[in-house]
């Protein structure tokens, strides 16, 4: 049971960047961003390629973050400069990213067999499981939460939140909507790219298809966290996204332990989200109908 919990904890933390990115686009910017499916795989693929070529893990993850940012920026520019619908802009980028990631990786799957340098130097809380990973991931995610939390508490973050809340009012108060959306979507996808890199590291391989269903996964994590914390401010919102990621992975681990076939996981995730949508617990910009038709 302990190994199950620890595995879920580690995996949840590896996916926390995805949850934070989803939170940033959907809850802060009110932008339904489908780029995450592509930027998650791009981040994973980039990190895997660099690590196999001997690049230090932190640098590889930083590049994964940067590539994620670029992917988000492309979606932002397609939407704000060319006037393409938000959902369609994300689909276009994701479609293109599949080829780019495949080109970057050179093949569809890259194994990462060695434990990254530095992980084994971290303090071991109790022998036998993946505590080094837990410590490393906890530090990374706490750092991310602190960084995003601080960012959103500045005038800069306030401007982004205003854009998601009421763009008309935000513009009337001097906020450049195009710039705000571009920066926000880029930052969110950077987090998703970083998460892709961490997941690839943790699971020991990167696959070009690893991003499929990432938006739904991210959404599931955000919803679970929000249903527990019911956050009224940004700090709690970020915390709820991270805790949601851990709980989501725990639920999946329990489902697998109860005999669910791994191949059915995405179907179960989709059905759970559909139930949440139908119950009216969730309002996703552009995805949920305002009224029943």
């Amino acid at each position: 049971m302990l190994s199950l919990w620890l595995g879920a904890y580690d995996q949840g933390l590896a996916f926390a960047g995805l949850a934070l990115g989803t939170y940033l686009t959907l809850r802060v910017l009110n932008f339904p961003d489908l780029t995450v499916d592509g930027s998650f795989a791009l981040g994973g693929g980039t990190a895997a390629v660099l690590i196999t070529q001997g690049v230090p893990v932190p640098l590889a993850l930083l590049v994964a973050f940067g590539f994620g940012c670029l992917a988000g920026l492309v979606t932002g520019l397609i939407h704000t400069r060319l006037g393409v619908n938000d959902l369609f802009a994300g689909i276009l980028t994701t479609t293109g990213l599949y080829s780019i990631t495949l080109r970057l990786m050179g093949r569809s799957n890259i194994p990462l067999t060695d434990t990254p340098v530095g992980i084994d130097r971290l303090p071991d809380l109790s022998a036998g499981f993946d505590e080094e990973w837990a410590m490393a991931l906890t530090l990374v995610v706490l750092g991310l939460m602190l960084l995003v939390g601080l960012l959103l508490s500045t005038d800069f973050g306030l401007a982004l939140r205003a854009l998601g809340n009421n763009p008309t009012m935000a513009r009337a108060n001097g906020i450049n909507q195009r710039r705000g959306l571009n920066i926000g979507i880029a930052a969110a996808n950077g987090l998703v790219g970083l998460s892709g890199g961490l997941v690839a590291l943790f699971q020991g391989f990167a696959d070009v298809t690893m991003g499929i269903g990432s938006l739904i996964l991210g959404l599931g994590m955000v919803i679970i966290g929000e249903s527990i914390f019911r956050p009224r401010n940004i700090s709690l919102g970020l915390l709820s996204a991270v805790v949601g990621a851990i709980l989501f992975r725990t639920l999946i681990a329990i489902a697998l332990a109860l005999g669910l076939e791994p191949v059915d996981l995405k179907l179960v995730t989709a059905v759970l989200l559909l139930i949440a949508l139908a119950a009216g617990r969730l309002r996703i910009p552009g995805l949920s109908a305002k009224e029943k038709v």
């Binding site: 960012l151 005038d155 939140r161 009012m169 009337a172 108060n173 001097g174 906020i175 450049n176």
Partner: protein
């Protein structure tokens, strides 16, 4: 600052086909610090005029200048550095998901976009910001100073519009645009918001354009009263001239306008 509108031209396509040229060579000059009230029937171009000045609609020709500044060369968020706006709908003028203090902070930063690098410095609103906002609200007699952490979405329409008005005057705007900002309020809230409007406009010394459908407001407030009809300035009264008008006479003039068909109403723009 003096507001100068020269040879303004703007029109929009009609839903059933065709084109409606609302403004064609429209001119207006408002002296610095002047409080101008604009009345007119639906579709006369009052709100469209404010939207063209604010930059939410693009003019097809002519120029809009504030002092020496050519406003029409800036996009709407760029013009916000000098323009404070209060919208008709209390839901539009504030961010319901942010607290009162956060909304005030946004308005205060209007002259410097929060999306610049300087926006990354320091957690905002800071303790001193909050203290300043509390003092400001208390000085204006607005009982929201002790509720700075309350989400604006939890306020009543009147409270929201009051806050929106205070926000519009923060950051020393040179021009205030008030678009039927009491239309959605009950009489008590309307009186309170109008009283505050008068005080803030005078205190600020900015040029102000207020659009209204209320003839009693038109008779009571402002230094100048304009009447628009089909994109044309048909009456321009000074405060002294207005005092010689009766509300009944104004109503008759108001009613003599050709009321545009609902589908030709350009007040919301295309």
């Amino acid at each position: 600052m003096t507001l100068t509108i020269s040879e303004l031209s703007w029109g929009h396509p009609l839903p059933g086909g065709g084109w409606r040229q609302l403004f064609d060579g429209f001119n207006l000059n408002c002296q610095s610090g002047q409080f101008v009230v604009v009345i007119g029937n639906n579709g006369s171009g009052k709100s469209t005029l404010l939207n063209l000045i604010a930059g939410t609609l693009k003019l097809k020709g002519g120029s809009i200048e504030l002092g020496q500044r050519r406003l029409h060369r800036y996009r709407d968020h760029g013009r916000a550095r000098w323009i404070g706006r209060v919208m008709q709908n209390p839901l539009e003028g504030t961010c319901p998901g942010l607290s009162i203090a956060e909304n005030l902070r946004l308005a205060e930063r209007r002259r410097r976009s929060g999306l610049s690098f300087s926006g990354l410095l320091g957690v905002r609103p800071s303790h001193s910001d909050r203290k300043r906002y509390q003092q400001l609200l208390d000085a204006l007699g607005i009982p929201l100073g002790h509720r700075l952490d309350t989400l604006v979405g939890e306020l009543s329409g009147g409270q929201r519009q009051t806050l929106s008005l205070v926000m519009a005057t923060l950051g020393n705007p040179e021009l205030l645009l008030l678009d039927e900002h009491t239309a959605a309020l009950d009489p008590k809230a309307e009186a309170m918001v109008m009283d505050l409007t008068e005080r803030l406009v005078r205190q600020l010394g900015a040029t102000a354009l207020m659009v209204t459908h209320s003839l009693s407001q038109a008779m009571r407030y402002g230094d100048r009263l304009l009447m628009l009809r089909d994109g044309q300035l048909v009456h321009d009264w000074s405060a002294t001239e207005r005092m010689q008008l009766s509300e009944e006479a104004l109503r008759q003039l108001y009613g003599s306008g050709i009321v545009a068909a609902p589908n030709a109403d350009a007040s919301n723009g295309p």
